[in-house]
Amino acid sequence: MWNEEIECMSREDIFELQLKKLQATVKRAFDKIPFYTEKYTNANVFPEDIETLKDIEKLPFLTKDDLRACYPFGMFAVDKKEIIEVHSSSGTTGKPVVSGYTQNDIDNWGEIVARGLTMMGLDADDIIQNTHGYGLFTGGFGVHYGAHRLGATIIPISTGQTRRQIEIMADFGTTCLIFTPSYGIYLGEVAKEEGIDFDNLGLKAIGFGAEMWTSEMRDRIEDTFKTKAYNIYGLTELMGPGLGIECSAQNGLHIAEDFFYPEIIDSNTGNTLPEGTHGELVLTNLERESMPVIRFRTKDLTALHYDTCECGRTLARMERITGRSDDMIKVKGVAVFPSQIEKALLNVSDIEPHYQIIVTRPDIMDEIEIKVEASESLFSDDVKEMMEVKRKISEYIQNEIGISVNVSLVAPKSIPRSTKGKIQRVIDKRNLH
């Protein structure tokens, strides 16, 4: 274990430590950042109101729009000369969010990820090939700083150059690969073509994240690379990748609770939900000099567990992210997530087909149509076979979401794309307001 004192601390001590850090954080934010001064004053809540951890619920939430409104440096609590690095999350709509780091923030990031890499079974002898991108997005940096702290060797190769990745993997004796699930699946296929024998390559672990994934994808990755794959979660607003990492038990991601305070809320009411209940993850920085983010709504859906893990750690575990609160649609009273549709579609095609969910209410009952763009692998010269593909898609989706759907196969590129090439996953044509 990298830091047994913290990672196995009793729950009482963790909560006590968190309360102290929370009080200090709220006070600093209120004193130093006009945005918080105004927001908390308007809500009539002040730093001295935080007497217990539960009092955090008195504080208003912070949304991505709030952070955008502070673009670029409005959320900084320190003088600009203290900031040694900035990152930015992608702005699909409007301005991006800027995230700043002091030297201590970077050091802490390294500490947090070093713990996680240790959970994955790595140490100073390991060679980590990091295929996450290095750029303005935090992508590759979490594992990079973590590997430095751990004393392992990091290969900052970034994404792409797949054949070179494979060559380096074999020549350098990579023991850990870091990738996104979709790039990992691709890398595995090319490596097999190149005749790489993963039984003999000696990989010890895979760290993957940055994308939604299914347990089928994990099975496939572990099967290809002949080693265990561990989930890494993070988001630029709070730090970056590594704020949650899976341990050998592969039963949820441990959150570094001395640096983050996690909550689960009901997306609609904003009420805090009890342990084990699924809802939206809300996160608070407990020790961030540059930019304390307090009660940030991640829109990621998960649940938290506080029982001691098989691995011996007492730090809370979050479940794998199963969806985004803003993606969820209720059809016939059932919550449906695009990730469920994706999972079903992966059963009929290796490459995830492009799709769109269209919800209508022609009369009084909801109807759901899934448009799936035909592709090479879904197309055949035989009408019967095509009808069978359609039938299978409907069946898999129905098994996944529990309600029947109409599937239609449409021409490639026929679902409208945004200028950035993204498909709007859900079109809700019901007039519910």
């Binding site: 035909a374 592709s375 090479e376 197309f379 055949s380 010269d381 035989d382 009408v383 095509m386 009808m387 239609s408 196969l409 449409v410 021409a411 490639p412 590129k413 026929s414």
Partner: protein, 144 residues
């Protein structure tokens, strides 16, 4: 030499789609020898025999069509009535399951050419050969 490369194209069943596809080929000077459309209420499979299947496939794919090469065979029929049914009788007797058939007329010889697709195409060819049903070489079909 008797296997003709047919292009199978996925088409959404929308007004104008068939026209657009054929027009795209015409604009690129691809001559169509034979055509058949199998459709359902929502999508169809357009099957084409063209002069230059490689070029046609490339053009279609550049325009995001899904195209598959499907080998088929062409049998020459005398335009006498009863010839079609006699060929079908042979295949029925030999227990060949045809996936589909369509036909067109050879402009120069004015003979009908019957295009056939079966799961086991090699078997189909040998049976037609055994019964002396004349097959059309693929080159001849492309260059009619």
């Amino acid at each position: 030499m008797y296997k003709i490369t047919q292009l199978s194209i996925f088409l959404e069943n929308k007004r104008g789609n068939l026209y657009n596809t054929l027009n795209l080929l015409a604009e690129n000077s691809i001559n169509i020898r034979a055509l058949s459309l199998a459709d359902t209420t929502e999508f169809g499979i357009l099957r084409l025999v063209v002069q230059d299947p490689i070029k046609a496939k490339k053009i279609l794919e550049e325009h995001w069509y899904i195209v598959k090469n499907t080998p088929i065979v062409g049998a020459k029929l005398d335009d006498t009535s009863g010839r079609l049914s006699s060929v079908l009788k042979i295949l029925n007797d030999e227990e060949i399951d045809l996936e589909y058939i369509y036909a067109f007329t050879h402009e120069k010889t004015e003979k009908a050419i019957l295009l056939l697709q079966a799961e086991d195409l090699d078997n189909l060819i040998s049976i037609l050969n055994a019964y002396k049903v004349p097959l059309v070489p693929s080159e001849e079909v492309y260059n009619l």
